[in-house]
Every structure is written in C-alpha cells, then in structure tokens.
Amino acid sequence: MESIKDKVAIVGMGCTAFGELWDKGPEDLMVESTYEACEDAGIETTDIQACWLGYVNSDIAMTGIMAAGALQFDYIPVTHVENACGTGAETFRGAAMALIAGAYDVCLALGVEKMKDAGFGGIPQAFPGKWHPVYGAAPEVGGGVARYALAATRYFSYYGLTPEEGKTMLAKVSVKSHYNGSRNPKAALRKAVSIEQVLNAPIIAWPLGLFDCCGINDGSSAAILVRTEDAKKFRPDGDYITIKGSSIACGPSWGKERPDYDYLHWEETERCAKQVYEMAGIKDPRKEMQVFELHDCFSIAEVIAAESLGLVEKGKAREDIDAGNWEQEGEMPINISGGLKSFGHPAGASGGREIYEFYKQFQGKVEEPSRQLKGDLKMGIAHNQGGHPGNFVCGITIVGEPPAAK
C-alpha cells in the first residue's frame, strides 16, 4: 500500500461566508465557492472534469444534479458523497483518489449545506448509524448536544472535576474560539465572549450550555485538485498546498452499547489519525503540524479530539488549556479560524472550510492580519467527526507545503 502523500495538490480554493444566509440558496453558495476556487486556480468551471459533491442534509436535494445545475457542468460525473460531518473530507478523498488513478486531471471537491431552510435550529433527521423508531433513546432532532454531553459528564466524573471546574475548562475553549472568530470576516459569529458569559448561558443539554455548542447554518467551500506534478501549470507562483494524508474511519461497532467504551476518547478519531499520520509520516503531531482545525461542534468535542489526535496526553487537556497553549500565541493554536464554534456547521462545507484555513494561512493571505500565524507553516490538520460517541465517522485531511519548498 502506497501513501498518497504529496501526490495531489490543491491549486485553488473558495469559501463563502458562513451564517444564516436567508437570501442565499444552495445554488448561490455553490456558485460563490466554486467560482472563487476556479478564479484562484486560474481555470474556468468548464475545465473541471469531475466533481465530488458533499452534503448531508437530504432535505435540500438528492444526487449530484444539484451541482451540475447550479454550475452548468457539461455532463461531467458529479459524485454525491455523504459521511455525516466527515463529508467534506470525503469529497477531497474521492477527488484525490481519482487523480492518483489518472482518471481525471482536474477535479472539484465541493461541500455545501443549506440548513436554515428547515424552519428550526439543529440537524434535521440525523440518525448516526442505524435509525430505529424507539431504540437508542429515540433519535432526537437536534439531539447532538445531548450525545456529546454524555462524554462531558463522563470526562468530569472520571477526571474528578466538579461541574464548575469542568464547565470552566470548556468555557475557556469557547472563549478562545470566539476570540479567533471575532477576527474572521467569514465566520458567522464574530463576537468575543467572556468566561462569565459562557458559564451563565442557558443550559442546552446538561452539562453543556449555549456557548458550548456551535450553530447549524449555511455555507459552501470548494477546492480545485490536480496531480502535484501538474500544480505549477496552474500556479506558477508555487503557492499551492499538497495533501499529506486523507482518510475516513467509520466506527464498526456500537460503542454506545459496549461497556468497554469509556466516553473519554474518540476511537474513530484515534484510528483515522493513525492512518493519516502514517500517510503523512507524522510521528509527533503536536510538533510537526502548525495549524489545527479540530471538530468543535461542542466544546467537549474539541477537548477530547485534541487528546484522541495525540496532541495532548489523555486527561491533560485542562492543563494545556490553562497554560494558554491552544491560543493563537500558544504552542498549538487550535481552531485559529474560530472553529465550528464561530463558523457554525453546515456539515458538508466544514471539512473544506478547515482546509481553506490552512491554505490561506500557508499563503499568508489571512484577511485579518492579526489572525495570521507566524513562523513556518509546514502542515495542518482538518478534522471532523459525526455521529454518537462510540459510533462516529471521522474524516481527517492533512495538508501541507509542497515537497519542494515554496
């Protein structure tokens, strides 16, 4: 088995502002992200030979026709992929595999989600794994909070944190992400918040409160992918990035039904990380990567993801957070973009949006200069997972500087 490391390059990217975009439909969003990506790559939409289209919310459409219609593709293959919150990663993976196989030369990885036409907040009809009318606490619309909150309760209990201590740890994560997002013009929530605000907010699903949760909203991200050997044809400036590792891990078992699952780690994230670190040749993820876009649909998700990705020892996230290591000036800036916390989570678009963050940071083109990371940015991780603790699908894409230094 060969690693896909550096075989595929991202030569153009686009990303809409995320938010409650009442005046935009999914077609508008796809047009905005794709045209930005094409312009960035110096191509026309007609140059795209195949498209991987990711969206989760089947209320908006079925099939790949939605993208073909919006972008007026010329009967090219459009593959609709869905893997919950790992959908974005799946679009990159699909496009990369096709390029490596030599089946196409120019591919589009496109993620889009239009959640705010549903008439309520929350993920419509989200059934991770097997849907059942009565089993599994009965699937709840918008029940993601309660599912992740199970892990928060267990984390506090196992590590001996009082609810106050546990909630304060989580509050610091949200405060950090909100501050980052406050300086990101594409984020949905561009407002810094205080620890007191976070702690005093209404409870959504104990122990998680309003500011522990990200919103569900609208957005789209797009990327033009080519084989690395062709990248310079598109970007003579050499300002492109390559995929170092890309994978999906689907939890095979019902972790929530096995008493040996501890609710303290994300097994699917650990397994997926192992795969992509091996592809990318990463031994010490904390040191070898510089941009960390972690799935923070809920504050506890980010905390446990950091531990499961091997970025911090298990149970030590609190010390790391208290030391300020996750902040912009810290040793390991997590969710410098503002994260799902600030962007919201149009599920299909989030994976590409996280890669977009590395892309812009790497190119030194972050819109708000104060948010530009300093130093040599060699690699970054875009991590997403969806489902239920013990029953996730995880998607990770590791991107970085091209083999020959820029």
Partner: protein
C-alpha cells in the same frame, strides 16, 4: 380450590396535592393527594408493572391466560393484553383478552379466570386491572381520580386466598358514561347516582352474597370494595352493616384516589399485604351492577407478603408534582403551540422485526464469546461470530449509570430528557432514557432498573419501549 395465588400492584411515582388543585381553581379541593401517571405512562404500561410485580420469583411460562380490564385503554381498536403479555415475557400460546367499558371489568375478568381454572382450560390466569382516567379540569373528579394498576394471579395451587363464593348482579343503571370522542367522563346528578347507585346496587349484591354463603357481616375480617370517594365509600360500608373503623380496608382516597377499574383490586391487595391466615375478605366491585366475592386467606399468604412492591411500597415511593401546571403538562390537557421541529416517525415493520427487543427487552448473548449486546445484529460486536446468539431477557436486570446528559430541548413532555448510558449487571450496556427521576439526584454510578414506557408518539402510534428509572422501592 381455586383462588388467588399471587398479587402485584403499581402506583405511579407522581402525586398531585389536592391543595394545588384547589389553589388553581380558587376553591377547596380536599386534602391529601392523588397519584398521577407520568407522561410516558398509560393504563397499559401500568398493567405491565403490576403484572411483573405479581410474577416476581415465579415462572413466567406458567401463565396460561391474561385478561386486562380497563376503561382507559391506549387504543380503542387494538388489544392491550397482547402487548402486556409480550412485555411481561409470557408465552404466546395463551389467551389474551381486554375487558373494557365498565369499572367492574376486574371482577368480570376474575370470574372468567375462575371459570377457566375450574374448567381446566387454564392452570394460571393473570387478571390485570389498570386505569388512568382523565378528569375534566375544575370538575369534582379532578382531585378524586387517581392512577394505578393491580394484578391477581388466579389458580388452584399454592392459593393464598381461596374464592369461597360470589354473587353477580347485572344492572342497566346508568350513572357515568363516555361516548367515543368524549375526552372526559360525563355524569348525571350526583345525588341520583349516590342514592340509587352506590348505596343500593353494591350493598344489594353483598347482602345476596351473605345470604348465599350463609354468613353475617360480623364474619368479615376486611371488606375491600369500590367506592367513588371516601365519604360515599363509608356510607356504602354502613349499608352493608360493616364497621368502617375495623372492618373496612382504607380505599386510599387520601393517598391515591379513585383508580377506576383498578381501585377495588388495589384495596384488596393492600388488605392481603397485612392479612393473616383465616381472614375472611369481602371483595366487591361496582358499575353496571356489582360483583361480590368472599375470600379466605390461607397459610400460603406469608410466602407472598413482603415479596411484592404491591401497594405499600409503591405508596411510600413518591415525588410530588411542583404545581398544577406540571399536571396539566403531563396529562397533555391543553393545546400547545405547535413545535417547529418535525414530528419523529415510527415504523411498524421495524418494530415487528425487532419485536424481541422492543417488547420484551431481549438482548442477545453471543454463544462464541459470551458477550451480551443489544440491539439485535447479525455479527457479534465483540468477536465477529455470525448468527450465533441466544436471547437473554434484560427487562428484569438492574444496572449502573455510566454517564448521562439532560437535554432541555428534546421532543419530550417532561424535560429535561435524561439520556442515560447504563451498564447492566451481568453484562451489556443499555443506551436509554431515564424516567421517574429527580434531576437533582441524577448522578454517575446510581442504580437503575427497567420500566416499560411510551417512548414516543410518532406516526399516529403509541410507540412503547423500555426506559430506565432509579430503583423505585
């Protein structure tokens, strides 16, 4: 000799103080409290509770028929007894029957059970009575009604109380009624019902029983009979020449209320809980006539006493509703603002495929590695052995709360919805919802047990499933 071989009862955990009803409507509503079935309970789920209580320590396969008496069935067309049978994990080659329409249903069922055992068509018959009648707001019945269930096992072996004789009276007398589509019971003038109904019909049947069995009122150790509320109940006792102080079992007006079809059997069970061998018990029901029974308690009573949750333990285990508003909410008595979140669907084919799990809470134990798991799947989630399982009943297994969350925005009548991950004693994990809980007392490590409840109302169906609750008593 045919008689009662076991008993079980159920009283929901919630109580509503009558002073809170009075405060709501600005008038007196009496003292004491009434029981209130939780929002995820109905007459069927309470019937399951009483049935399982009645069969504690007994072989469930020994039951040959189950008769369910209620005037508040969850479905007007669709049997409840068959679901109770399945949830209680009784054999499926038995007779199940619903007896509805009359508060006298419990003794209709008892009569049929006695006949079946005598005829030899059944060895053991389960008689279940359960009601949660909805009283009109600000009506006299609101504080009077209560919710509860009783179960009596009828057989001819190890009898705890023999049936010495009975008298049955059918009457065309109309007092209360409810037509299809009526939400609340209707009633004629109370004085007419009291004078011509309660004070005449049931006492008449009892007097005929005295005559038939050649006994005198003073021979009765305890009388257990239906009465609409305590005052009329006492007046009825006097008509039967019984001393209300010594001979009449408390009808639980102050603590539970009138549980309809289940009331007389519940009073009977509370008497059996403290009966002594040789006690003569009068058991009588009323409605559309009256049925009167004379029972004699046997030495076997001591084998059952103290081994059931019954009435006494369920009475002591309670939580008081904080307000009348909470009662209105639990009983879904008002039209609420329409939610923006779409209703969750059900699927009868899924429930049918998974019937062992849904109704009986069967998990599966892998014959290769021994691990217990649910829901059903073909390949073992531990050792990947394929199609090599045996069913294990988990409905009577207790467990420990591993972790939980409390969702304030779930589609649930009583919020928050307590998502619970429960590690089962003996293996397996049950991902569930905790009901009958005090959210202040929910904590990791607490002990829990299973309870059969309404899981959701979706696709116009009442979708039952098992939940967990703190160990009740």
């Amino acid at each position: 000799m045919v008689g009662i071989t076991s008993y079980g009862a159920y009283i929901p955990i919630y109580r509503l103080a009558r002073k809170d009803i009075g405060a709501m409507w600005g008038k007196g509503a009496g003292s004491g409290e009434r029981s209130v079935a939780n929002a995820d309970e109905d007459s069927l789920t309470m019937g399951v509770e009483a049935t399982i209580d009645c069969l504690k320590g007994m072989e469930r396969n020994s039951v040959d028929a189950l008769y369910f008496a209620t005037v508040s069935p969850p479905y007007l067309e669709k049997q409840s007894a068959s679901i109770i049978r399945s949830a209680a994990d009784l054999r499926d080659d038995i007779t199940t029957m619903d007896i509805a329409h009359s508060l006298r249903g419990a003794t209709n069922a008892l009569r049929a059970a006695e006949d079946a055992v005598k005829a030899g068509s059944a060895k053991n018959v389960m008689v279940v009575a359960s009601d949660c009648r909805l009283a009109a707001p600000d009506s006299g019945f609101e504080g009077v009604f209560g919710d509860g269930a009783a179960a009596l096992l009828i057989g001819d072996t190890d009898v705890i109380a023999t049936i010495d004789g009975s008298y049955h009276l059918s009457s065309e007398f109309i007092d209360v009624w409810r037509k299809p589509g009526d939400k609340y019971m209707q009633v004629w003038e109370d004085r007419f019902i009291r004078e011509e109904g309660y004070l005449k019909i049931l006492p008449q049947a009892v007097k005929e029983l005295y005559k038939k069995l050649n006994i005198k009122p003073e021979d009765i150790t305890k009388a257990c009979f239906y009465g609409p509320e305590p005052r009329t109940h006492s007046a009825m006792a006097r008509k039967m020449k019984l001393d209300p102080k010594t001979q009449v079992q408390d009808p639980m007006g102050a603590s539970v209320g009138n549980t309809g079809t289940a009331l007389a059997p519940m009073i009977l069970i509370s008497a059996l809980e403290e009966a002594k061998p040789g006690d003569k018990i009068l058991f009588a029901t009323y409605s559309d006539g009256a049925d009167a029974y004379l029972l004699t308690v046997t030495d076997n009573i001591t084998k059952i006493q103290g081994n059931r949750r019954g009435i006494r333990n369920h009475l002591e285990s309670k939580m008081t509703l904080p307000s009348y508003g909470k009662y209105v909410q639990i009983k879904q008595m008002m039209e609420w603002a329409k939610g923006t979140v779409p209703a969750r669907p059900s699927s009868l084919p899924v429930i049918w495929r998974d019937k062992e799990m849904v109704w009986k809470l069967y998990g599966q134990k892998c014959n290769s590695c021994g691990n217990i798991q649910l829901p059903r799947q073909r390949v073992c989630m531990y050792c990947r052995a394929k199609d090599n399982f045996e069913f294990v009943r988990l409905s009577d297994v207790t467990g420990t709360l591993f972790t939980y969350s409390m969702d304030d925005r779930a589609q649930e009548i009583v919020l928050p919805k307590v998502f619970s991950v429960v590690d089962l004693d003996g293996g397996g994990r049950f991902y569930s919802v905790m009901t009958d809980r005090d959210t202040e007392k929910v904590e990791v490590g607490m002990k829990l047990e299973m309870t059969f409840r309404i899981q959701l109302e979706g696709s116009e169906l009442i979708n039952y499933f098992w939940r967990v609750r703190p160990i009740r008593c």
